[in-house]
Point group: C2
Chain length 255, copies 2
DNA sequence: CTTAGTTAAAGTCATGTTGACTACAACTGA
DNA sequence: TCAGTTGTAGTCAACATGACTTTAACTAAG
């Protein structure tokens, strides 16, 4: 089982190893370090009216990729941790507070940006659709449907795809779905989130049974009024997001 | 559901957001970027003789933390991707080829290093115990048991703990265990890996049944000779590591 | 007031998986 | 030949899952 055989498995490019002698040369021009954030929120689809995934993008106002849409991001400030930087991006872009925030991946390919080499540490977040209704669209900030995106700047299409993949993976287990909803919600709304993200219908009865067993939710005692039919019971999330599994390391960012 | 309430959930530190005006100031002194690798391998325990997890550490030969043990790592070369840099660390340190290599996490706390701020992109790897028997110990490179480590340099204890947590998590599902073994192995050896990493005994009969159903292995037709008892059948791993779930994005590092 | 229509909510049943356990086979060494 | 050990297969109850049925609660039309 040689290295060459193994290399194909995890996509490592074979390449002669640099000698340890030219350390000074390596440090000559360190790569730029950027923080970006993939922000997911729920919005009713124009067509069906059912909730679907959306994310905000910003328009590039300079080269490279001027005019194209890109993930919100920027350089890392000296005074802020990685997670703080991601949260600040989110605040600057949408004006919303993140209901969930987690590191996605560090992208460090050699040719992600045409001129200088850029290493991007990307976070992904979820915001609740309640406050402000995510209204803060402008000339250079716009919300897009998460699936079927047009061509974005840099490798941001791949990054969004990866974030979507991880969102779906985390959704399958763990109670993250609640962070796309408001403070209170009906069980049908939770199911709609699962159906939208995982892209398949689920039996309402079985879904209810499973939720009551595993997830930490409790009825508020109130009911959602205003509908045309029997008003559904409202619930509240009571669990702690830090114990999701598989999940990121709690406080891994703080040191 | 305010930001303050939410902040406690994922451990984000509340902090005034920097204004967008002082971008030039931010770029004045960019953080240093380092690549480190947590390398796991299987070794028989001195006491019980059963296989346990070990990892190689290097001694710091300069300040800060001079004399303490640390994860192998170094700066990022301009010409190599993040994963290549991690693989080079592994090669320089152990001389072994990685059987598995995956990004762990980007650690970017403000005070990880006393003097300059350092952002570390950490990978974790698994090597097979066969070739070279991991013999390459020296004055400044030594193997340690993964549990019960002494105090390491920087925040490397936390990083190792996180890597262990993720290894256990990945082991529970997915067929990564084979990457700690050689090309051929017995089912009992696989079970011993699970027992060592997950730290609990497993029923041999049930373990066999599950493996045959899910994991992709096939008998080689040969048997392991030399034991005192009935010779066990030898197996070979036939699956593709890229389809593990949950897993890192295939080729996320290449762009 | 009655009834049709819709949704919430709970229950039923067959199927598959899991963990604990038993039984048998194969081999070594005394 | 026998005792001891390990590989291998099978059984069984407990449990979770998916598909489905049934009842309850409510609105709106007639």
């Amino acid at each position: 089982m040689t290295l060459t055989k193994e290399a194909g498995r995890y996509g490592m490019e074979r390449q002669p190893f640099a000698s340890a002698a030219n350390v000074s040369e390596r440090l000559a021009q360190p790569p730029a370090l950027a923080i970006s954030t993939v922000i997911f929120a729920l919005r009713p689809s124009e067509a069906s009216g059912r909730p679907t995934l959306w994310l905000p993008l910003v328009r590039r106002i300079r080269e490279p990729f001027q005019g194209l849409w890109a993930l919100p991001g920027g350089p890392l400030t000296q005074a802020e941790s990685l997670q703080d930087a991601a949260a600040r991006n989110l605040q600057d872009t949408t004006g919303l507070a993140p209901s969930y925030l987690e590191q996605l991946y560090a992208f460090g390919g050699l040719h992600r940006s045409p001129s200088q080499r850029v290493v991007s540490i990307v976070y992904w977040a979820m915001v609740q659709p309640t406050e402000a209704e995510m209204a803060q669209e402008s000339e250079n900030v716009k919300w897009f449907r998460a699936d079927g995106l047009e061509t974005l700047a840099f490798d941001h299409n791949q990054i969004v795809d990866y974030a979507l993949w991880r969102l779906r993976n985390k959704m399958a287990y763990g109670p993250i779905a609640y962070h796309l909803l408001g403070e209170t919600f009906t069980l049908a709304q939770v199911r709609e989130v699962y159906e939208a993200v995982l892209d398949r219908t689920m039996d309402p009865a079985n879904f209810r049974r499973q939720l009551k067993q595993t997830a930490h939710i409790e009825p508020t005692g109130e009911y959602l009024q205003g509908g045309k039919h029997r008003p559904p019971r409202l619930y509240r999330y009571t669990g702690n997001i830090a114990e999701d599994s598989p999940a990121p390391h709690p406080r891994a960012d703080n040191a």
